[in-house]
Amino acid sequence: MTFNRVPAIFATFLLLFLLQESLLNKIDFFIGGFSLYLAFFMAWIMQDERNSAVATGFIAGFIADLSPTLEAPFGLWTFILTAMSYVMATNVRAALDAELSPVVMSAVTVIGSSIALFSFVICGAILGQEVGSTSYVIQEIFGNALWTLLLSPLYVPIAIGVYRATLTARNR
């Protein structure tokens, strides 16, 4: 991890956050919704080395916490994504081949997003946030997983491309 990558990571996730908040949240996705932000984050983390992944998790989580419509305490997404990034970059990444195929990438993205949302609900509930009925939570997580899977051919190549563009010569 080189510190001069931090502005690029911050700018990328801030742009994604704006896209999510101003456009994607407005679309009625029929079943649940779609978090491009989470999906992109998972696809990004899978390519990153450990130190960089943990820092990216913290930055992405902090930006996600800025959402004005969020009911949960500030810092909860930072906590979840920082924790997830370490697990993904060490345990999950170590169990997979060095070269990630698009299918594996999509599957990990779907599972990772769903686990992140589920952890958010559980931690939110522990901190006193009301999250609704079980069926509502399942529908939201299932809907997000479905759209994350269906739209993976669109965002996974973009995530790979943007990630490579942010690498410094030393990282490459």
Partner: protein
């Protein structure tokens, strides 16, 4: 060497986790800095959301429209005959017309109750990652909107203002799991508590053991002290089923809201109820039955006969 690298990662990870827990603690303790960070981000996002809303408004219901594709085949066939320019014009007009109809409806409702309202457009919604049912409006404290004001649409209650900036406001929808409102049944005046359950579902629990409840009962807001957060008399929903399970002290039921919370374009915020209670005056009128058409056919002899 590799072990040292792993230790460094673990140290960074633990430090960042502790930092995030520190942020959570600050927020739970109500530190102003954290609140102002979110208010600041809302001020920053509002103009972008407004642009996004304008760009996306013809496509926001794309998936719902696609799901109804089979049912609207005949309509699509007839539209195919029109040229591209007319079609895009039609989409734009339909969008504007829909918003105008919603605005007219909500102003009618507010006018009937003589509430002073501020109309606002919906520019964004709460996303999947938030697990909260919220809307963002394009009007804020500059238009007189404050926290804990009632938000209504043409058919009734939408929610309550949760926070404001100068040019935007976040509304907690009545379907949010944390939403509670005191209601009374139009006519009998029996009181109950309505709770949101997410995705447009609501449950009702009567306050009194003797409170009567039947399907079709219309629920109106009971009103709060100083009319904040709820003004009285606003239509909330209709009872659809009663839960008759034994062992309950008071009656419970399922409720259907009057407002379709997924199709809101324009809403109104009640900035002043003028101290009035409209009573049961805002109860939606039942649709008039369609007149039966009787056709008499007199057989005529054919020319060959």
């Amino acid at each position: 060497m590799a072990n040292r690298g792993a230790n460094r990662t673990r140290l960074l990870w633990v430090s960042l986790l502790v930092t995030s827990l520190f942020l959570i603690t600050l927020d739970l303790r109500g530190i102003n800095l954290i609140n102002s960070i979110r208010t600041g981000s809302q001020s920053f996002l509002a103009p972008i959301q407004r642009v996004g809303s304008n760009v996306l408004s013809p496509f926001s219901n794309l998936f719902t429209d696609l799901s109804n594709f089979g049912r609207t085949n005949s309509k699509i066939d007839s539209l195919k005959t029109e040229n591209e320019e007319l079609r895009s014009q039609l989409i734009f007009n339909k969008n504007v017309l829909g918003e105008l109809e919603q605005l007219k409806g909500v102003l009618d409702l507010a006018g009937q109750a003589r509430f002073k309202v501020v109309a606002a457009r919906v520019i964004s919604k709460g996303g999947t990652g938030t697990f909260s049912e919220t809307l963002v409006l394009d009007a804020g404290s500059d238009a007189g909107i404050k926290r804990d004001m009632t938000v209504i649409a043409s058919a009734g209650l939408v929610g309550v203002v949760k926070s404001t900036t100068k040019s935007s406001a976040v509304v907690l929808l009545m379907s949010d799991p944390s939403f509670r409102i005191g209601v009374r049944i139009a006519g009998t005046q029996d009181m109950g508590i309505l709770s949101g359950e997410g995705e447009g579902k609501f449950s009702l629990r009567m306050l009194s053991a003797t409170g009567q409840l039947k399907p079709g009962d219309v629920l109106l807001s009971r009103g709060s002290s100083g009319d904040k957060p709820f003004v009285p008399g606003v239509p909330v929903g209709k009872v659809i089923t009663i839960d008759n399970s034994t062992g309950q002290l008071t009656k419970q039921g399922r409720v259907m809201g009057f407002v379709d919370l997924n199709a809101l374009g324009v809403v109104s915020v009640v900035v002043d109820s003028m101290g009035r209670n409209p009573g049961d005056a805002l109860v939606p009128k039942a649709p008039a039955p369609a007149p039966t058409v009787t056709v008499f056919v007199t057989p005529k002899p054919s020319p060959t006969e």
